[in-house]
């Protein structure tokens, strides 16, 4: 069953500057792990904001479980969909515990005290994201990686069925990148949490996502599995950059290597020598052939 469906979506910020998302349709099945990739300015974050209900579509629609997203009340929406934005400006330094408990808001009624269930979930998500030891710390004192994990804990505390992530690995070192994505992947598989994630890093997208959506100038350029989308033709066309696509030796998923200008020169030289060598070979075979016929 489709948990999310985007139909002929067109939207943006400013009518005069035109639409950022020009015409996008896709659907996400329950339990799927979808990655949205594309160059800067292709409309990834705009699409993300439209899907999360923060931006109204100009045309077309976004449906969550066959319901128009802008018709779902915030509390209803938040009890099923958790959103982790790219940047969150925090003014007041809540403790980690207080901050994560805000994720329980959609499940609580106004005058009810914290129930045991809320506290149990708090502890569970803190342990899951490895932030239990940070629970009494102030959020503004944390490092970037710690803060990202706390944000994720807050999202998990909402007990979502759909998780939307915008660049969750931004500014993180490789170990934290892998840690965060492993965690999301595990919840995706164990609890069949549906995940839609915007990612810059093509290789992380390749190794974690079931499906990829490659955007170009506000439109879907290509969608499908990693090996269908991440071909060097697609990437060179969309990113205007020369790449080499190999296979990851362990997972056999595509692996994108960047090629610098210098390397491109080297390759061209190599090609040239190869070509010269080939020409010689053909000449040689040709001459050999002629010799043999003469004989």
């Amino acid at each position: 069953m489709n948990i999310l469906e985007v139909k002929d979506l067109r939207c943006g910020y400013d009518c005069e500057r035109g639409a950022v998302i020009k015409d996008i349709s896709f659907s996400v099945r329950e339990g799927e792990f979808l990655g949205v990739i594309g160059p800067n300015g292709a409309g990834k974050t705009t699409l993300f904001r439209a899907v999360s209900g923060a931006l109204r579509p100009w045309e077309g629609n976004v449906f969550y479980k066959d319901k128009e997203i802008c018709r779902i009340g915030p509390r209803d929406f938040a009890s099923q969909v958790a959103v982790m934005p790219q940047m969150l400006e925090i003014t007041f330094s809540f403790s980690v515990e207080e901050f994560v408990l805000m994720g329980r808001f959609p499940h609580r009624t106004r005058f009810s005290a914290l129930r045991e269930k809320d506290l149990a979930i708090l502890e569970e998500v803190l342990r899951l994201t490895d932030t239990f030891s940070l629970r009494r710390r102030k959020i503004l004192e944390l490092s970037g990686g710690e803060r990202q994990r706390v944000l994720l804990a807050q999202a998990f505390a909402q007990e979502p069925q759909l998780l939307l992530l915008d660049e969750p690995t931004l500014h993180l070192d490789i170990s934290h990148q892998v840690q965060i994505l492993d965690l999301v992947r595990r919840l995706n598989q164990e609890k069949s949490l549906t995940v839609i994630m915007v990612l810059h890093d093509l290789n992380l997208a390749s190794s974690y996502c079931d499906h990829l959506l490659l955007l170009k100038e506000g439109k879907v350029f290509k969608q499908g599995s990693g090996s269908e989308v991440l071909t060097y033709q697609n990437i060179e066309e969309v990113y205007k950059t020369v790449v080499v696509v190999k296979q990851n030796p362990i997972s056999h998923k595509p692996y994108v290597l960047l090629v610098s200008e210098e390397e491109q020169m080297m390759r061209r030289k190599l090609n040239n020598t190869e070509r010269r060598w080939e020409e010689k070979e053909t000449l040689r075979t040709l001459s050999n052939n002629t010799e043999s016929t003469e004989e």
Partner: protein
Amino acid sequence: MDKKRLRIFILLFVIFVVSIIVSAFSGASQLKLDTVVGKDILWKIRIPRIVLGLLVGGALACCGAVFQGLLRNPLAEPYTLGISGAAALGVTLGVTSGASGIYLPVFAFAGSAFSVFLVYSVAAKKRFSNPSLILGGVILSFLFSSLVFLIFSISKAEDIHGVMLWLMGDLSSASDYLIRIIPFFILPGLGLLFVFSSELNILTLGEEKARHLGVNAEQVKKILFITASFITGACVAASGIIGFVGLIIPHFMRRIVGVDHRALLPVSCIAGAGFLVLCDSIARTIIRPLELPVGVITGIFGGVFFLSFLLKSKQWEIF
């Protein structure tokens, strides 16, 4: 954690009660409870004044915390959006057009209602961001106070004196009828602010994130803005522009109880109430038999006290 909060709560409450008692027994004349005059002074002058001080102090501190949270700016205060300037203009117009003293609160309230209406309708139409909202408020304040000074410079000196006293904030206006009316303006509003304190916590993360956590951000923001402005308008109408309470008390309390508004709002309320009443007793006694406007004392004592606290503490950050 919660035990610590409880202890702070009790401590604050003790200070609060003490400040009320101190205030009741301080003033221009010694209080002799065995005489009729003494009883009259206590019940007809000091108690109403204390009640007004409690209400206004608590309300300003609480609204200050709400505005800081809503605008996501620690420098915000109840007067940031131009309420005080507009109220001052209203009072000045009232005085110079010859209205009697009893109607001044009406003029002040009309002024503040006008500014809230102005700021809010423009902000709602243009979907202002917080910084532009604050900037707009500051510009409005300047505009209004320039108009006040314009009127001052073309009117008679004796008219101005009353307005000056009011501009500095003054609790001596506590009359019987004011005391009967003001609680109806302030207390229900404060209750409403308390009810929405969980939402306010989440709103400090920004409107978009708040919506994603299940808060109907636009609606809650509107309710909180209008309620806090309304309360502030009532405070200004009752006792003039008492500065500093709304800015400093929430900061001070945030250091003690943390940033969770469910604790911060009630604690600020109690602390603000106690602080203003205490300042008022100082204002009444320090140059006996004359009285100072309480706004002067909140500024001087509050400023020195908070600055010394800031210098003593190890952290330099305000929160």
